[in-house]
Symmetry: D3
Subunit: 253 residues, 6 copies
């Protein structure tokens, strides 16, 4: 099966990091392709950044659907931007990395903390946990005080800050799992799992496995009502080309 | 005070309808300006449509902020698209029409129903009610089975369908207020209030009054953490011009 | 429009403070009248005090309704005493100051703290936030340790204590708005907003604006079921005169 | 032990009905005294009625506390009026009949329905279930369409209406227990339990047993913060005599 | 009436402690019998221990039902193991001691803390509070760091540790009642109530009184659907003798 | 990797059905082994049945852990019996089939219905949805009125009844996914997915894939607090052999 992993920001080095992690996570027989939009923010640290990453991401998914070759999609930003819109145009599963990590954590321990980048993202994590049903299990959101792109810089001390917050999550929050709240932290997860003895998860690898799991069973997004293809209509101006066309019917539907 | 009302879709006749309603609702001393983006969907009936209305809407708010002349903003689509992103770039209050109507209903009666356009929007309304804290008061979401733009057509029978669902909301759901779940229904609210004897609310006029209320007290969006200005960074490709610039500081901050 | 603001306690100086704030908040074209009951507690610091402020407050509203001249009502105590009873006998909106402030805060920031008077009131605030739907947004309730009537005394140090708790709310609770949990703190709100840079709200002024907003749209309390006029029946003893009479019908109903 | 049961309305025949039921429920060694206020509504069917029953009820409890002879109190109206105020002035437990019945039902079956008097009371029951923590277990509130005082009239057909709703609760709501939502229905509970085979509970008898249970263990209301005695202060006008005096200290505190 | 109190672990000295407390709590006219299973863990400190205490406990209840002589049952472990299974085979009420204590606390104060034995039990208490509807009132769970059987040892210092946590619950958590989270702490409750001035409850005595209360009113477990007798079927192997037989019908059903 | 699938009941034909489904679901490189306890109920239709299936299931897991060869476990009964106890003694992930299906459904559609066997199981499903965080997404639980073992009988009409409820779930509940609430329905899932066009899921295959996903990333149950190995202690009587031994330490811990 082929899984399309989308880094919704436009920083190639981060796409590469995500891509390597996704590829390592994939089972034999799974190919992951990791891409980034051709427009939008170089990192996603606000709802404003989120808003401008989504159109490019949706274009990628729509093109991929037209090719017809992907079993499912991963949205590789811990704010899960555009997840529901993506589901409307996809037939396979679409999994966000925050979502995936929260689901996994809730099956592995009683209570998890998210170690995130900046303080301004904390309440977004609470909102997502509430939306997905995991608020009772969210012990805390801790900001490591690291901007997204510093995670790419080996000399930034970012890894140490993330580890420090992970230890505090265990000690002070009673967290039994820790979620690394940024796709850029993907390389830290395995190391911190070993160093702390508890599951420390990045969302990218978990989301890849979740897509494998669901698509492997032939399960896709339910197209019956809420995630049905958008109705055909004109779009104007610079987005004219993004207008939803006639609803495709596939055998599987 | 000047309030900017944004119809996030690109149908001029709907902008006009919203604009007239907003103007009628405004207090003496308030000027409302109603605009629409220069790109995006002609109506918003899916999360995909939502995603493509937001960039144009944010451009409008950002330009308005640079002019510095607006006391606050109304997002005139009942899905409240881009509300949090808008708050990050605004200094005054930003109020969505779904949000405004739900707040108002919760102070006027015990339990409300949303009469919406299409069935596919129903669960979005539940999600919003949950997010805003009003899920206990949301008795039901009823789809009138009317696409957004038919509301513009006097011969479509849309008004009758909306009325029929409003009566069922009272009778079957135990709704004590009814919210009209589309900016295109703004002209029906007053008529249905009189015909049913309960508060039937459109969100546009309520949101205008809520902005008046908050801005009239000198209250604006809290810029301290979650809604702080987005961090300065490059955007690439077609969105390069939307990159957040250096954070402006105003005296009030 | 004329709005009746009721200070439910019987301390004239506090009624004056509230009255001045309400008057300053009112739009041109709005007249506020601020009154207090002719019987009951001099301050409201317990549920027992609440119970004894309500009958006098309801008498005021009932008399006002018979005159027919008020567009709506503000209940100016942060425990929102008697709010639902008041709605049963009013036709216009009836807004409590706790309720108003919580609604406003939830549209301006992500998470608020209430800075209250005494510790014994804290859990009442949690109950109200839960009832109104804002519990997820209530970061904390902080008691300034100031009895209500000390707020009237410029030498009590009360203002400093309230400010200290406001700063802690920002720092320790992650509050993005602060609500001053007593009508007697109304004069501090504007000052603290300026000093802290976040919205610090008293409920009185917000409630006045909310009544203006709703009544300005012709919206009143839904009289259909829960807030219908009380059924006619005898009351005995000292409350005989408070018995609900035949249900009045107004054109608007 | 002596338990004081308060019918908060002023209809003697209803006080008698409640009193007989309370006496039958009491264990050997328990004496129940059932009283009614000397002022207020003849039945409680609105929040307005509630407001005017509370002062007389609190006077009764305060006088009883001064005598010092009661182990605890039952508030015998299914709206649980004034419960928290009563706890502030009582030392023993104070139990509302709605509260008591909901607690009992939640230990005897999975899900209960309240069969109430009038439709206008239904949402009050939902609010109480939410407040007490039983909203997940509240399957429905059904109005028998019977005003409170008709329950006193053997020829009103009220009993049949209550039974019909009880059967629907079992069949249509999946209720496994039924609560009779008015103190006036106390005599029906035992009969309906036998006729339906499920626990059909009135609140009066359950509340008496709950007070017996708690007081029998020497447990009383926690006086430490929220339910501490009201602070001493003047009350004005007709309520001057209700002013809280100096806080009494008892050995047990 | 006869009440069967089951210590689900197999430590005789703890059964004795529980038995004495139950007997002291019982009203005149009530006989309590306290027993323990003939197999299973000597103390219950994990879900695994819970799983192995339940079969023996159910055997006890089933045998008791066949004798037909018990009015109701108490499950005397603060994890409330096997409660729902027990209800399926019982006709009288079955009350868990955690459940009983939480119900009682919620009627006596606003907010309680559980002082438990080991840290690993803390989240079980949160789960139970969530299940029973009391999560809003659960201020905290504090582990005294005392294994269950040390409570039996007068020299272990366990009582002092429990008291220290009780005081912190009052001071730091804002708890207004404290629940002792282990049947082995039953003797401490009365002493700590006196020393702290707030209700400090063990669950055993409260549960006995709750069974007395409900059974005293002729109320039993609702046998209509969820707690109906298990369907007759074979069990295999070592549990063959535990197979549910033909469903007994009693007059009371 | 090797996954151990446990049918907690003792009916061999059902174990076979589950085993075939699990094997079909497994990825290349995964081996599933499906077993059943040597004692306990032939089907699980009550909490009583649940209680007697758990000891045998835990013995299986404990033995498997001692062999050390399994990457994770599936508990193949839709009541998820003994899940938390199992996690305490396992090192790999332990996934229940109800849990797995609910997680999957929540990522594929907005709202699901469970089509279960008997009415008496319905509220157990609500409890599980509440516990796992999916109550907002649980549209309904529908009982097909089919005892578990009839599912094994091709002539029982059970499949038609399950299909009929599945169609009603779509039509009447607004379900966008349907979960088949019994391991015995595993063969119907794929067929109903094709016939209805929405994801119809059995839990067995989803749980196998979830274990593959998590174990494939090297993630196991968090052993730090709540799911730590049970403390060593004696068990008495027939369960003496089940006593937790000294806590094993593995490198991975």
């Amino acid at each position: 099966m082929k899984i399309l992993v989308i880094n919704p920001n436009t920083t190639q080095s981060m796409t590469d990091t995500i891509g390597h992690a996704a590829a390592r996570a994939a089972s034999p027989g799974t190919t992951t392709v990791t891409v980034q939009p051709d427009k939008g923010p170089v990192s996603i640290e606000s709802q404003y950044d989120s808003a401008f990453c989504v159109p490019g991401m949706l274009e990628i998914i729509r093109a991929a659907e037209e090719e017809g070759g992907y079993a499912g999609y991963v949205v590789a930003c811990f704010r899960d931007p555009g997840l529901e819109a993506a589901r409307e145009i996809a037939t396979g599963p679409v999994i966000g990395i925050c979502e995936a990590a929260m689901h996994a954590a809730s099956m592995l321990g009683k209570g998890f903390t998210v170690v995130s980048t900046l303080k301004r993202s904390a309440k977004v994590q609470y909102d997502l946990a509430r939306k997905y049903g995991f608020i009772d299990q969210l012990m805390s959101v801790r900001a490591a005080g690291v901007p997204v792109l510093e995670l790419e810089d080996a000399h930034s001390g970012a890894a140490d800050k993330v580890k420090a917050e992970t230890l505090k999550a265990i000690e002070e929050d009673g967290a039994e799992c820790v979620l690394l709240g940024c796709a850029g932290m993907v390389d830290l997860a395995q190391r911190l799992t070993q160093e702390t003895g508890i599951p420390v998860m990045d969302g990218v690898t978990v989301a890849v496995k979740m897509v494998e799991a669901l698509a492997g069973l032939g399960l896709g997004t339910s197209k019956i009502v809420s995630y049905a293809q958008p109705r055909e209509k004109p779009y104007t101006g610079a987005f004219a080309g993004n207008a939803p066309g006639p609803v495709r019917k596939r055998a599987a539907e």
